[in-house]
């Protein structure tokens, strides 16, 4: 525990939760509320029929659903039994995401973009979700699920041009970097206001049910943003109208500098919040590609069959700073990311594939190189459309467009006033 806590005045009984580790501490996760990992006990959690009564998911909401053991095997009833090709594709998508992140982080550091956010360590939550859903199932990301977009084959160049806010940007520089939008890829427009997408996802799901389609919507929030009212609305409305929605809480332990306990309070798990609304609820090992895949597939099946929404807490860890504006060494122990007891999602899937003889270090290294080159090539092309430090090439007239469907006269007057 860090030293400055000693200055606390003890007159007060106000309880303020504190994280396990602060800068200077040797990371220790032994007090993390989590089942015993070594015994693999959690691998025996049952996989009930997706139409099970929601309250019977209690042990899944307070436990931890896992498939991959820490030594690379699969175990337990949640194993989705994917074939090697699918797993290799998952590995590739995660590695691609990681490679794009690395590149764009560098680009921002070079001053060519104003902002970027990595998803390092959390790639499985997005990639396995995209692969377990239909491509037409609408996803409502927060801002750390670029893996969804990349898994669905969104052109790298388009993604990068958005980050560069240049003339190649399909959003014409209107949105800040990483606030992608692609109806084509069934990827909802990201807004930076936390939580708001959660009730949109439920509205979309209600639309699916209203129209009698078998569509499912799939929303993501960070654990920190569960404190917003919108999370509550999403749980409430999906419970009331049995909306075919999947409500993912990515618990990556940190919300900028606040640890998950600030949002969790005395809750055992975030999944348990779902139970409070009579929704099926699972807590899963978010660094376990197969567990994520299995949980999403289960929830999608439940939703499509009319069973309503499922809340899924992805228990994972944010290995990097919150964004390019953040320096995590200011508020947490430097070694925390490596001490995270659930490992790294890329490493774990890779090890499993190697263990079952479907992958090897050479192929892995080659793939990494291939992806880096692929990403670099796309980046070069994207950069040719301009950057922050050169010219973005965006026509100022576009500023007045798309505020409304048709431009009202006051905006025409203002455009004139600007002399363009």
């Amino acid at each position: 525990m860090s030293s400055h806590k000693s200055s606390r005045k003890n007159i007060s009984n106000l309880h303020v939760p504190e994280p396990l580790n602060r800068p200077g501490d040797t990371p220790d996760f032994s007090n993390l509320h989590m089942p015993d990992l070594v015994s693999d006990k959690t691998h025996t959690l049952p996989r009930p029929d997706p139409m099970v009564d929601a309250y019977e998911t209690e042990e899944l909401a307070s436990g931890l659903v896992r498939v991959l053991t820490l030594d690379g095997r699969t175990k337990g009833p949640w194993d989705p039994k994917l074939d090697a090709d699918t797993m290799r594709l998952g590995l590739r998508n995660m590695m691609l995401t990681r490679s794009v992140d690395k590149r764009m982080f560098t680009v921002q550091r070079q001053g060519k973009a104003s902002f970027y956010m990595k998803s390092l360590g959390e790639e499985a939550t997005a990639v396995a979700t995209a692969m377990a859903l239909k491509d037409t199932d609408m996803v409502f990301p927060s801002y750390r699920q670029q893996g969804l977009l990349l898994s669905r084959g969104y052109p790298l160049r388009d993604l990068m041009c958005q980050v560069l806010s240049n003339s190649g940007d399909k959003l014409e520089g209107k949105a800040i970097p990483i606030c992608y939008s692609s109806r084509e890829k069934a990827f909802y427009s990201i807004g930076a206001s936390l939580g708001t997408q959660m009730s949109h996802a439920v509205g979309w799901a209600m639309g699916c049910a209203y129209k009698g389609t078998d569509g499912v919507s799939c929303a993501f929030t960070g654990e920190g943003a569960t404190a917003e009212g919108d999370f509550h609305y999403a749980l409430n409305f999906s419970s009331t109208y049995r909306a075919p929605a999947i409500i993912n809480v990515v618990n990556n332990q940190w919300a900028i500098s606040s640890f998950q306990g600030i949002a969790a309070g005395q809750s055992k798990t975030f999944a348990y919040r779902g139970l409070g609304f009579g929704l099926a609820s699972l807590r899963i090992d978010g660094n376990d590609f197969l567990a994520v895949y299995a949980a999403i597939a289960w929830a999608a099946e439940r939703a499509r069959a009319g069973g309503g929404a499922t809340v899924i807490e992805h228990f994972t860890y944010r290995k990097e700073g919150h964004s390019t504006s953040d320096d995590p060494s200011k508020y947490r122990a430097k070694e925390e990311p490596d001490a995270w007891p659930l490992g790294d999602p890329v490493d774990r899937l890779k090890e499993h594939l190697i263990l079952i003889g479907e992958w090897d270090e050479e192929r892995h290294a080659a793939l990494e190189k291939e992806l880096d080159a692929f990403v670099l090539k796309a980046y070069k092309e994207a950069e040719s459309f301009g950057t922050l430090t050169t010219e973005t090439g965006i026509n100022p007239r576009t500023m007045f467009e798309k505020v409304y469907e048709e431009m009202p006269s006051h905006l025409k007057r203002q455009r004139q006033e600007l002399g363009i």
Binding site: M138, K170, L171, E172, K174, A175, C179, S181, S182, R183, Y188, S189, G191, S193, T196, M198, S199, H200, A201, V202, G203, W204, A205, M206, G207, C208, Y210, S217, G229, D230, H232, Y233, A234, N236, F237, T240, K402, V403, Y404, E405, P408, S409, H410
Partner: protein, 343 residues
């Protein structure tokens, strides 16, 4: 003005109900939800009968969660539906403020047209029913400050129906405020008179079928030559009574649509009369009257013979017992007209 032979006498509640009914009949993507709007038909009865006629899944009760109501509506709108939601009182729109301003208003822009929120948010506004601080507010100005939202306020049954049909068909999010004091009749601010009913008014003659009224098009309620009165909602009727009482020859411009605004009509009128008075029930400071005043002086500076006058609610919450002292009623408006024209 209604010239339709199929016109029927309707009060504003019936006119709104008719608009909803027609749109639900025409377009299976239109659905209606909100607090108490389903089986019961709304606390002001605007959605009466819609559930029975169109089905439980097309007109239903929502949890008491204005934020959730607007948030799910935005999602439905993005999906391709045209939800029409009711906020039970305009005073209770604030829990939905973030969803309206950060989401509904911004979705088209930030996604560059990839996603849109073609939703309509109906809400009864204004005082006059002894509703006090929390059942009388007129928060329209707030929405006019948010780029991406349209703000509509009808003053009579005919306009209410045509504007609501337009709002539902519009592909932008529309906040549609209904002056609740006008639901049953054109209240003119005279407390000593028996309450009037729409049955006696031309604007209570409403075509039974479909028609729309364009936004950005003010309605010239009365024409005159000496004074321009800019107003909307309940204040249109107060203006009419005050003009009658004072005998001034005035243009009464019923704005109907605050955003987008029919500046052309406003400017033409003020240039003609040289005098401008602005009425609204909302709190004065940063009310929509401020914007109107700013625009008028920007565009008609050299035609104005007197300072523009705002007659409005005071900068206080709406007091329960002193409702009529707060309300910018006939007496205050008439007095202001006389002061302006004779002063």
């Amino acid at each position: 003005m209604p010239k339709n032979n199929n016109a029927k006498q309707m009060n504003m509640i019936q006119a709104i109900n008719s608009a909803l009914d027609i749109k639900m009949s025409q377009d299976p993507d239109v659905l209606v939800f909100g607090e108490d709007v389903g089986y019961f038909g709304g606390v002001f009865r605007c959605t009466a009968g819609l559930q029975e006629k169109h089905g439980l899944h097309r007109c239903f009760d929502a949890p008491i969660s204005e934020g959730g109501i607007v948030g799910t509506a935005v999602g439905m709108g993005a999906f391709g539906l045209r939800p029409v939601v009711e906020i039970q009182f305009a005073d209770y729109i604030y829990p939905a403020f973030d969803q309206i301003c950060s989401e509904a208003a911004r979705l088209r822009y930030r996604s560059n047209g990839d996603f849109t929120a073609p939703i309509t948010i109906r809400s009864p506004m204004g005082g006059g029913i002894h509703g006090g601080t929390s059942h009388s507010q007129s928060p329209e100005a707030l929405f006019t400050h948010i780029a991406g939202i349209k703000t509509i306020i009808p003053s009579n049954p005919y306009d209410a129906k045509g504007l609501l049909l337009k709002a539902i068909e519009d592909n932008d999010p529309v906040v549609f405020f209904e002056p609740k004091r006008l639901y049953n009749g054109p209240f003119d601010g005279d407390l000593n008179k028996p309450v009037d009913s729409w049955a006696n008014h031309e604007l209570g003659q409403v075509p039974e079928g479909h028609y729309t009224i364009d936004f950005e098009k003010a309605r010239m309620h009365k024409e005159g030559s000496e004074l321009t009165i800019l107003c909307y909602g309940t204040m249109v009727w107060v203006a009419e009574a005050a003009v009658r009482e004072t005998g001034v020859s005035a243009d009464i411009v019923d704005l109907r649509s605050l955003m987008p605004l029919d500046l052309e009509t406003i400017v033409a009128s003020v240039k003609k009369t040289g005098h401008c008075m602005i009425l609204h029930e909302a709190t004065r400071t940063s009310g929509f009257g401020a914007e109107l005043s700013a625009l008028v002086q920007e565009h008609c500076f050299y035609h104005l013979e007197k300072p523009i006058v705002r007659v409005t609610g005071w900068d206080t919450p709406y007091p329960h017992a002193l409702e009529w002292e707060y309300f910018p009623g006939l007496e205050r408006v008439s007095k202001s007209i006389i002061q302006m024209m004779e002063g």
